[in-house]
């Protein structure tokens, strides 16, 4: 079976797929990969899900954010956090989900030291959000919908640390609100998984419901991976799926899927059978390893949580939450391209983080939307400003843009100084560097450092005369026809004027001088 034919019916899994045959990912030349993703995202509420202990536990001393409720003390009762419920509904709307009219919390029963009550309050039969989708971009320029099966609300567990035959239990995290998002098995390659997670993270950050910080455990991804032959697909069959845990970055997810698909395909190739197990990702050795299961017999005995009355989500509540939805990245990108004439590449990177988009939009508001202006700003932001952020900030996290002293309006002022020929673009880069560091106004920097462009013809002519006099040899070669030396003279003139010369004017005067020299000589 060829890749081409296997891709023909691929769209069955994802109705809106516009993927081309070329994009089908095959392992060992014939196995398709089928991935469903479970994502756990901590909600950015101030207090916990079922008690009002602070949810801001990162870095806090162990068990300092606990109370009778999240300690599972006898007699304590949970009361659900409105903000967490609304954040989940908001996410559901952004994920194109149907919001359930009735949602019910349920107890999921199992014993583990990080689970104080011996059950986790979750949602089971009646989750808040159902049947949504997220569109991801494919490398060929098309897009594909990854369907969302459900998104529900639950509570996080505590943390255990293993030390010398003992485990130390910290319950600060226990009860932090957690949203679980489950996709259909629509993801067909490691890259699609990467694209999906990137898109989902962008959305969650736009909504302000989750930090997207995987390394801090605020977002956790568990792919279910299986492989199958096109024949199996045609028969409507799936391979045995393996869940992979312990993934700390999107890159790990991508690598783990590639590795695991390869491993499963090899087993099948050798006539073996894939076992339904949980695997862990070994980051150091870049491979999946068999993981112990928490409980040998998983029978969670879910039943409706009697302590929490049901949620009834009626249309007015949904509308009120919908009204709080920000413009989402896809819509923003389209607007940047259509209204402001941005190129797709810049539009995409500027909308990848809401904070960047906010910065850009504030700068556009200050600078103007006349033709070419937003693109010029986009170039400065994605070029020079990002370079400075990466060089001076903590890693390649564009969200740092919100924390720099320079305000977007000041960037607009800087560009205006260039437009008004007060400074030249090279000087502007130097000024920008100082603005990013100090937050000073560009005018103030230009004045303080005397960076204003030299547009005085007499001053420029004097510098040209001086340069030509100092380089008789080059002048002779120029006259002999080596015209590319114009650049050399230009550089010398700019240097003589400490880089501040109006480059257009300087070039014009230089050319005139050289011509007159040539004619006079």
């Amino acid at each position: 079976m060829s890749a081409t034919s296997s891709a023909t019916s691929k769209a069955v899994d994802s109705p809106s797929s516009s993927s081309s045959p070329a994009s089908t990912y095959l392992v060992l030349g014939k196995y398709e990969v089928v991935v469903g993703m479970e994502v756990h995202a901590q909600l950015l509420t101030r207090s916990k899900m079922f008690c009002r202990c602070s949810a801001d536990y990162q870095g806090a001393p162990p068990n300092s954010h606990t109370c009778p409720v999240c300690l599972g003390m006898p007699g304590a009762l949970p009361v659900a956090n409105r903000a967490a419920v609304e954040a989940t509904i908001k996410t559901g709307l952004a994920l194109n989900c149907r919001i359930a009219e009735t949602a019910v919390f349920a107890r999921k029963n199992y014993h583990y030291p990080d689970l104080p009550k011996g059950y986790q309050i979750s949602q089971y039969e009646l989750p808040l959000c159902l049947d949504g989708w997220v569109a991801i971009d494919l490398p060929d320029g098309g897009s594909k919908r990854i369907r969302i099966r459900r998104a529900h609300l639950e509570e996080d567990t505590g943390k255990t640390t293993h030390v010398d035959g003992y485990s130390l239990v910290d319950l600060n995290r226990a009860g932090v609100p957690l949203m679980e998002i489950v996709t259909e098995a629509d993801i067909a390659s490691p890259d699609e998984a990467y694209a999906f997670l990137t898109k989902l993270r962008t959305l969650l950050r736009y909504l302000g419901v989750n930090s997207g910080d995987m390394e801090k455990g605020a977002m956790r991804c568990e792919p279910n991976i299986s492989v199958r032959t096109p024949e199996m697909r045609e028969r409507g069959e799936y391979g045995v799926k393996v869940e992979v845990k312990n993934l700390n970055s999107f890159r790990s997810v991508r690598n783990a899927i590639a590795y695991e698909a390869q491993r499963q395909a090899q087993i099948l190739e050798q006539g073996g059978q894939v076992e339904q197990v949980n695997m862990g990702w070994d980051e150091q050795n870049q491979r999946t390893v068999l993981q112990r299961t928490k409980e040998s017999a998983e029978d969670y005995r879910y039943f409706p949580e009697p302590d929490i009355p049901p949620l009834r989500v009626e249309e007015p509540w949904i509308q009120a939450i919908r009204a709080t939805l920000p413009e989402l990245p896809d819509a923003k990108r389209a607007r940047y391209q259509e209204e402001w004439g941005l190129r797709r590449a810049e539009a995409e990177i500027l909308t990848s983080e809401k904070r960047v988009a906010d910065f850009f939009e504030a700068a556009v508001a200050a600078y103007g939307t006349a033709k070419g202006k937003p693109q010029r700003l986009a170039n400065w932001i994605t070029g020079e400003l990002f370079r400075l952020l990466y060089a001076e900030g903590q890693g390649q996290d564009l969200r740092q843009i919100a924390g720099i002293p320079m305000k977007p309006e000041q960037l607009a002022q800087l560009l205006r100084l260039v437009d008004e020929r007060v400074i030249n673009p090279n000087t502007a880069k130097k000024v920008l560097e100082r603005m990013v560091r100090t937050g000073e106004n560009p005018q103030a920097i230009v004045e303080a450092e005397g960076l204003a462009m030299v547009s005085d013809t007499a001053q420029i002519d004097a510098a040209i005369d001086q340069v030509l006099a100092a380089h008789p040899e080059e002048l002779a070669r120029y006259r002999a026809g080596e015209t590319k030396l114009l650049g050399f003279f230009m550089g010398q003139v700019m240097r003589a004027l400490k880089g501040k010369a109006d480059p257009g004017l300087a070039r014009q005067r230089l050319q005139e001088k050289l011509q007159s020299e040539a004619s006079s000589g």
Binding site: P74, G75, V79, P113, D299, F303
Partner: protein, 496 residues
């Protein structure tokens, strides 16, 4: 002081009598508390109602109450010594739920209902014995002691609030809080000849009530008479933001319902409650009580609650299912007993295997089974469906009548040890009480006679959800026109 009160020993005063005495300055809270502590001292060896008596704290609270009263403060229960069932957590005072698994547990917080009593000026005498985690009908399932019925020390006080009921019956407290999941306030009240009220589900905050069956549990007062029950309910009822299942409806003054008037009230008599197995003297006393109410002007109507016989099996699926999760937290990690096994999961198994008594283990097993894969639909879900039918029975009935009259318990107090080895026989004692919990409605037990052996009989009056005023009114009118409630058990030793 009125003539009747001059002859009443202080510990045998009702709450409203004591409040009147305190108000007139006939007695002080310290005198009252000392007298009750002396009674405890005198009879507790035999009754064993308390797991813990907090005498020092009680006297300190009494002194404070007297000081406050002198300064002109008037809290509704200022200076009244009360007992608290040991399934309600009390900050700084050991709370065991009658279980070894919670031995030594000192809660860092106080149950809302108890905190409200304290705010109202009540004095806490201590924690009363209970069937382990309120699972039982005789208080014999306590891991610590067997409480005796003050009317006959060879007999059980009922359960699971047997400690509270026995304490009130023996004058070891002027009133007490119990909890009622399937009859645990009403049945011991009936067996001890006192008044026990189970409020509507959601009326009293469950925050700090150690959960047994979360959708059924309610805290209720156990008192000598109906007015006292109304006084306690006034204080403990009402919305609590810490309990998501607490109702926001305002709390009326329940004593205002005690008009003594039942003319025109419609009382339903469900024939399904007079079944084979009921002690004939109990049936006779209850029927006589209903006839008495009719003579007072109430209209008695035969009604039908066709699913009555399903209530007990439904209860014995739902309550254990909820309990199996509620009791999962006892794992020897954050509080309570730990077996100290070398391996984590062995420690779970051993801590729980050794820490829980047989009845608790039985119910955890039953509930776990009813929720487990393959059985959920047949047991748990089915039970919740039949529960709907039981609720609908009551909804239909309360369209016709204001209250329903029935026996509280099919028998008077049985002998200690009589049923303890037959779990099924034991649970059958709850046959008339569980349906009120399943339907979430309110019910009260009030003394309505004695059997030939001198053991008290209880009349149960059931009202619709938030119908407390109706049942209190009928119970009060009945009580005030009879004198069953005035009889006191003859105490084992010469009491003060």
């Amino acid at each position: 002081m009125t003539e009747s009160q001059t002859h009443t020993p202080l510990p045998d005063l009702t709450i409203h009598q004591a409040l009147a005495g305190l108000e007139r300055g006939d007695l002080t809270a310290v005198e009252l508390t000392q007298a009750v502590l002396a009674r405890i001292q005198a009879v507790e060896d035999q009754i064993q109602a308390y797991l813990r008596v907090t005498a020092e704290q009680a006297l300190a609270q009494a002194e404070e109450a007297d000081r406050r009263r002198q300064q002109g403060e008037r809290a509704p229960l200022l200076g009244i010594p009360l007992a608290i069932k040991d399934v309600l957590v009390t900050e700084g005072v050991e709370t065991t739920c009658g279980s070894k698994i919670l031995q030594g547990f000192i809660p860092p917080y106080t149950a809302t209902a108890v905190a409200r009593l304290e705010e109202a000026g009540a004095i806490l005498l201590g924690k009363t014995n209970t069937d382990e985690f309120a699972m039982g009908s005789s208080t014999e399932n306590s891991a610590y002691q067997t409480t005796r019925n003050p009317w006959d020390l060879e007999r059980v006080p009922g359960g699971s609030s047997g400690g509270s009921a026995a304490a009130v019956a023996a004058g070891e407290a002027l009133g007490a809080l119990g909890t009622d999941t399937g009859g645990s306030v009403r049945q011991p009240a009936a067996l001890c000849g006192v008044v026990g009220l189970k409020p509507s589900y959601g009326r009293v905050s469950r925050y700090g009530l150690v959960a047994y069956g979360s959708s059924l549990d309610q805290i209720g007062p156990i008192t000598q008479d109906v007015r006292d029950a109304a006084l306690l309910l006034n204080v403990i009822a009402g919305h609590d933001p810490l309990d998501g299942t607490s109702l926001p409806e305002p709390v009326p003054d329940y004593t205002a319902a005690l008009t003594g008037e039942v003319k025109g009230l419609r009382i339903g008599l469900p024939e399904e409650y007079f079944v084979a197995g009921i002690q004939p003297e109990v049936e006779a006393a209850v029927r006589a009580a209903v006839a008495h109410l009719e003579s007072l002007g109430a209209e008695v109507l035969p009604i039908s609650l066709p699913n009555t016989d399903k209530a007990l099996p439904v209860y014995y699926l739902i309550a254990p299912a909820e309990a199996s999760a509620n009791l999962a937290r006892y794992d020897g990690i954050r509080f309570g007993y730990s077996a100290g096994a070398e391996n984590l999961f062995d420690n779970y198994r051993l801590t729980r295997g050794q820490g829980f008594g047989p009845e608790v283990k039985r119910r955890i097993m039953l509930g776990t089974y009813a929720l487990s894969a393959g059985y959920y639909d047949a047991y748990y879900l089915k039970a919740q469906q039949v529960r709907t039918l039981i609720r609908e029975d009551f909804q239909r009935a309360f369209q016709q009548v204001d209250v329903i009259a029935a026996p509280t318990s099919p028998t008077t107090a049985f002998r200690i040890g009589e049923k303890i080895d037959d779990p099924l026989a034991m649970i059958l004692t709850d046959i008339f009480t569980t349906s009120a919990n399943l339907a979430g409605i309110c019910a009260i037990s009030v003394p309505c006679g004695f059997d030939s052996q001198g053991l008290p009989i209880g009349l149960q009056l059931l009202g619709p959800a938030l119908g407390e005023e109706a049942i209190l009114r009928v119970a009060h009118a009945y009580e005030q026109s009879t004198d069953w409630h005035k009889r006191r058990a003859q105490l084992p030793t010469s009491a003060s």
